[in-house]
C-alpha cells in the first residue's frame, strides 16, 4: 500500500514535469531544459510503472526489457542520423508509431474483452474503440504522409476518382460499425472488431491520400493531435493519470498547430481535408501570363546587386530544404554582413512541409534567430528592403493571393515581396509550384529570375562576391 502511494506520487511528479517542460518551450533559451524536464518526467513514469505492485499476472520483465532495448536502439539511431531537412518525415514516422502503439494496446484489451476474460462497461468499450480508431487512422495516415514527404508515393498514384465521396462513405461505415459494436457489446464478437480495425486503417490512408505538398503542415499537425488523443484514450483504458495528461498535452499541441497552419493559409480545416488546391488540377487565374517574358539575372549582376545593397531579405521555402541550401545561404549572409549589408530572413508560417520547418534549417546553419522575421514583421520591413531573394518558395510570395479573386489561394496572407525595390527568384524552372498556381511575381517588372538548383546558384553567387 505504501509503495502504491509512492507510485501515484511519481505519476503526479511526472505529469507536472511534462507541463513544466512544455512551459519552458516558450523561449529558445530555456527550451532545451524544457525538453529534458519532459524526458525526466517520462523516465519517472516508466520506472514507477515497472515497480508498481501488481495484483495479477507474471510480470514478464524479459519481454519488457527486450522491447525497450529494440525500441531504444532504433529510436536513438534514427534521432542521431536524421538530416534536419528530413525532419518532417521523421516526425511523421514517430507520430505514426505513437498512434500504432495506442492502437495495439486498445486491440489487446479488446481481444481480452471479446474472449470473455475481461469485462468492460459501455463507456470503457467506447473508449477502447475510440483509441483503436484514432490510433489506427494516425498510424496509416502518418505512414502515407511519410511516403509522400520522402517522395516514395506520388499524389496521383493514391488519389481515386471521387475520392472525397469514398472518404465520406468509409468514415460513415466506420462510425456506424462502432455504434453497432457499442450496442452489441460482447456478443458482437472479435471478427467485427477486426473489421472495424481494418476499416480504420484504410480510412487513415484514404483520408491523407488526396492531401499533399503545401498542405502537409496541416496534415502533420492534425495527425499529431490524433496521436495525442489516442494516447489519452489509452490512459482512460488503463485508468492512468500520467498517460491521460501526456496524451491531452500532445492533443492540444497538435490542435493549436493545426489551427495556426489553417489560419496561415486562410482556409478551414474541412477545406484542406476535402479538397486542397493540390488536387484541383489546372486552375483559373493568371492564365494569360503565358506570353509575358521573364527577365533573367546573371550571377555576376546578382552578386554586385547584393553586395552593394543596404538591406537584403531571404525568403526560404521548401526548395531550400530540397536543395539543402541552408548553409550556403548563411555563407552568403556572412559575406554580405561583412560588407555592412543588413540581412534578414522572412519566414512564412506554412513555408516548408511542417510548422517551423524553415526555422530549424536556418538554426542548423547557425543563423541567429533574431534575424528571422515572421509574416507581419517581414511585411513591414519589406518596404525598406533593397533586394528580396526568394529561395525555393513560391505560393507564399504569390501576389495572386491579394489581387486575383479567381485564384485558389486568394485570401491567403502572403509575403508582399513586390513592395521591395527588387526581387530575385531562385528556381529550378518556370514550372508552377506544388499547387500548380501560376505566379505573376515571376513576370513582375521588379523581378529577375535565376534558374538552376538553389544550392548551386547560391554557391556561384558566393564565389562572385568573394571575387569582388
Amino acid at each position: 500500500m505504501l509503495l502504491d502511494s509512492y507510485i501515484n506520487l511519481s505519476y503526479l511528479v511526472g505529469a507536472i514535469a511534462f507541463v513544466w517542460g512544455l512551459r519552458l518551450l516558450a523561449s529558445p533559451d530555456s527550451a532545451r531544459r524544457g525538453n529534458i524536464w519532459a524526458a525526466v518526467g517520462m523516465v519517472i513514469g516508466i520506472i514507477a510503472t515497472l515497480i508498481k505492485p501488481m495484483t495479477q499476472g507474471d510480470n514478464n520483465y524479459i519481454w519488457i526489457v527486450l522491447g525497450i532495448i529494440i525500441g531504444g536502439i532504433a529510436g536513438w539511431l534514427a534521432a542521431k542520423r536524421i538530416k534536419m531537412t528530413a525532419m518532417p518525415q521523421m516526425v511523421s514516422v514517430f507520430n505514426g508509431l505513437g498512434g500504432a502503439c495506442a492502437g495495439v494496446l486498445a486491440m489487446a484489451e479488446l481481444i481480452k474483452y471479446y474472449d470473455g476474460s475481461v469485462f468492460m462497461q459501455t463507456g470503457q468499450l467506447g473508449i477502447a474503440l475510440f483509441a483503436l480508431l484514432v490510433g489506427s487512422v494516425s498510424f496509416t495516415g502518418s505512414m502515407l504522409a511519410f511516403g509522400k514527404l520522402e517522395g516514395l508515393v506520388k499524389d496521383k498514384n493514391v488519389i481515386l476518382p471521387k475520392h472525397n465521396v469514398i472518404n465520406i462513405i468509409l468514415l460513415a461505415a466506420t462510425l456506424i460499425l462502432s455504434v453497432w459494436l457499442l450496442l452489441e457489446g460482447q456478443q458482437a464478437g472479435i471478427t467485427f472488431a477486426l473489421v472495424f480495425l481494418i476499416l480504420a486503417l484504410i480510412y487513415g490512408f484514404s483520408f491523407v491520400a488526396p492531401i499533399g505538398g503545401a498542405d502537409m503542415p496541416v496534415v502533420i499537425s492534425l495527425l499529431n493531435s490524433f496521436t495525442g488523443l489516442s494516447a489519452a484514450a489509452a490512459g482512460l483504458i488503463y485508468n492512468n493519470q500520467i498517460m491521460l495528461v501526456g496524451g491531452i498535452l500532445v492533443g492540444a499541441a497538435g490542435t493549436i498547430l493545426t489551427v495556426l497552419m489553417c489560419q496561415a493559409m486562410n482556409r478551414s480545416l474541412a477545406n484542406v481535408i476535402i479538397g486542397g488546391f493540390g488536387t484541383a488540377g489546372p486552375t483559373k487565374g493568371g492564365g494569360e501570363t503565358g506570353d509575358q517574358v521573364v527577365k533573367e539575372a546573371t550571377f555576376n549582376d546578382t552578386a554586385i546587386q547584393l553586395y552593394y545593397a543596404n538591406s537584403v531579405m531571404f525568403v526560404p521555402g521548401y526548395g531550400l530544404a530540397v536543395a539543402q541550401a541552408q548553409k550556403v545561404v548563411k555563407e552568403l549572409d556572412d559575406l554580405l554582413e561583412a560588407n555592412g549589408v543588413d540581412v534578414k530572413y522572412a519566414i512564412h508560417p506554412v513555408a516548408g512541409r511542417m510548422p517551423g520547418h524553415m526555422n530549424v534549417l536556418l538554426a542548423e546553419a547557425d543563423v541567429p534567430y533574431p534575424k528571422l522575421l515572421d509574416l507581419e514583421e517581414a511585411n513591414s520591413a519589406i518596404k525598406d528592403t533593397d533586394t528580396v531573394v526568394i529561395v525555393g518558395a513560391n505560393d507564399v510570395v504569390n501576389p495572386a493571393a491579394l489581387d486575383e479573386p479567381g485564384s485558389p489561394i486568394y485570401g491567403m496572407p502572403v509575403l508582399e515581396v513586390w513592395n521591395a525595390k527588387n526581387t530575385l527568384v531562385l528556381k529550378r524552372s518556370m514550372s508552377p509550384g506544388y499547387a500548380g498556381i501560376p505566379n505573376p511575381l515571376f513576370f513582375h517588372q521588379k523581378n529577375r529570375m535565376l534558374f538552376g538548383d538553389a544550392k548551386d546558384s547560391l554557391q556561384k553567387i558566393v564565389q562572385e562576391v568573394k571575387n569582388m
Partner: protein, 103 residues
C-alpha cells in the same frame, strides 16, 4: 442515458483531469513561439510515447503463457520506446542548435 451518467460518476476524477489538462495544455502551448514549432512537434511526439506505460502494464498483468498479450504488449513497448527515445533525442539535437546562436 443511465449508462452515460453511471460512467460519468465512476470516472469523475478522470473527467476533471481531462478537462483541466485540456485548458492547461492550450494555455501553455499557445505560448510557444513560431520558431520552436518543429521542436514542439517532435517533443510532443516524444510525450505521446507515454503510452508505453500502458504497454508495460499490459505485459506485467499478463500470464506468462498469454502469448497474444505478451506479443502485442512487446510490439507496443517497442513502438512506444522508439517514440520516447527518438523523440526526446531529436528534439534535444534541434534545441541545441537554437541555443548556441544567440549572438
Amino acid at each position: 442515458m443511465d449508462t452515460v451518467l453511471q460512467f460519468f460518476n465512476d470516472q469523475l476524477i478522470m473527467i476533471y483531469l481531462l478537462l483541466f489538462t485540456i485548458i492547461l495544455g492550450f494555455e501553455v502551448i499557445s505560448k510557444v513561439p513560431t520558431i520552436l514549432h518543429t521542436p514542439l512537434m517532435s517533443g510532443a511526439n516524444a510525450i505521446s510515447g507515454v503510452v508505453i506505460i500502458g504497454a508495460v502494464l499490459l505485459i506485467r498483468q499478463a500470464d506468462s503463457n498469454d502469448y497474444i498479450s505478451l506479443i502485442l504488449g512487446t510490439v507496443a513497448v517497442v513502438l512506444g520506446t522508439v517514440n520516447v527515445v527518438g523523440g526526446f533525442a531529436v528534439t534535444d539535437r534541434m534545441l541545441e542548435m537554437f541555443k548556441k546562436k544567440k549572438n
